[in-house]
Symmetry: C2
Subunit: 290 residues, 2 copies
Amino acid sequence: MRIGALEAGGTKMVLGIFDEEGHLLEDTKLPTRTPAQTMPEIIAYFQEKGIDRLGIGTFGPVNLREDSPEYGNITATPKLDWRNYPLLSTLREALGVPCAIDTDVNAAALAECRLGAARGCGNAVYVTVGTGIGAGICVGGKPVHGLMHPEVGHMLLKPNPMDPLPQGICPYHESCLEGLASGPAIARRAGTSGENLPDEDPVFTLAAGYLAQMCVNLIVTVSPERIVIGGGVLEREFLLDLIRRETVRLLGGYVQVPEITARIDSYIVLPELYPISGLIGAWLLGRDIS
Amino acid sequence: MRIGALEAGGTKMVLGIFDEEGHLLEDTKLPTRTPAQTMPEIIAYFQEKGIDRLGIGTFGPVNLREDSPEYGNITATPKLDWRNYPLLSTLREALGVPCAIDTDVNAAALAECRLGAARGCGNAVYVTVGTGIGAGICVGGKPVHGLMHPEVGHMLLKPNPMDPLPQGICPYHESCLEGLASGPAIARRAGTSGENLPDEDPVFTLAAGYLAQMCVNLIVTVSPERIVIGGGVLEREFLLDLIRRETVRLLGGYVQVPEITARIDSYIVLPELYPISGLIGAWLLGRDIS
């Protein structure tokens, strides 16, 4: 069986062909333009390669309520061309194969949980920190959906009194995680991209502090067995240690489990499947269609 | 089949005998003293009544990892007599019947989710606001455990600039939910118990604002289909409307689902099984032992 995998991102589409065992046989990338331009290219690729199933991990927000007539549609995205676009049904009809869909971060969470940095954990969170901040949550080995799907990026946090930009840069919320700790938030404070800054720059301490607050709030809410943090901002790997130390400090001894108090280095970790966690997750979604 | 239900609280133990259909045949209450004093009373009650199974919803923190040798033990509670007490194994051995255990708030969440204010919802959160703040979360119809279990009470929040007590009263954390919005936090600001204050008192606006921040953070994290808020503080029912309005305001139009934007009154709701949500949940835990 040949399984197609699509990681639909806001700037690029990643397409892969896997076998049933998870070998990536071939893959390609396309820029994300309008649906009228990009969808025919995606459909042509999968038609040409011949697939038996397709798994999709997509940017969101996306309707994931299986009982909804809009199931699998992109919803209120700022990418206006894609707003309300019926991604799942278009691919299903054009390709004539069983298709499954989830968010890109839920797909990545699934991949890290089954095969990557959180394997063996039924409950785990995968967070990506880049232009935006998003997260997927697995409980009982499966991605959480609920009313919509986890976002995490817009969690409200306590501003650091030393922060010159305590309200953040989110157009929707004052002092939300994404507005305080995303790549653009770091760049706004520094006046330049984070890539140009030394490790010692105080903007990194601020960002790590907010990501640690996020870890605390995830720990006291969904009690994950592991937190995986990836994305462009975490390519500065020294951040991970700042986040770990600050998480333990903020917990203040309240949570007494050795996985956190004694082994934080194996509790908050980098992804193992980066940068293709999402593509592998899409493969898993396709493979597991029942 | 007769099913015993125990809601083990920090100040009182509630014991009930149910039939298989959920009729509460009889119940009683005992003060929570030391295990040496209280446990024999609990055991004698259930022995005398004759039960085939027992479900337990307990105060925490409690070890809920089934693969742990300490499964079902109370852990780092400030109630020193109960610290590390093997609640589950003691009852199982003394009564010789199958026993199941979860936290009191997870039990209440299960009851509200199956039979109460969140029935029909696979994913829902139950929060109790009283002396402390705790929450149980159901995903896919089952309580979430993970590394420990949800707490929610110690979620870090953004202090309101108008708050005379922005750091809160929690001994572990600055500006956590419980330290800012629990009954004692309200009383500390007012200099008297909340019961003595008129609805217009500004401490209620502050508390409702923090509970709304909690709702936002729950919505963007676990995306529940409904949030049920109960407990002693919510006996002042006018608070619920303050929480609803502030939740919508804080979301800032980011989450575009009609369940929240158009129907917040049926999204954030009071419990329907209060004050015995926890006892009914303990019955469900006992009934569903496989």
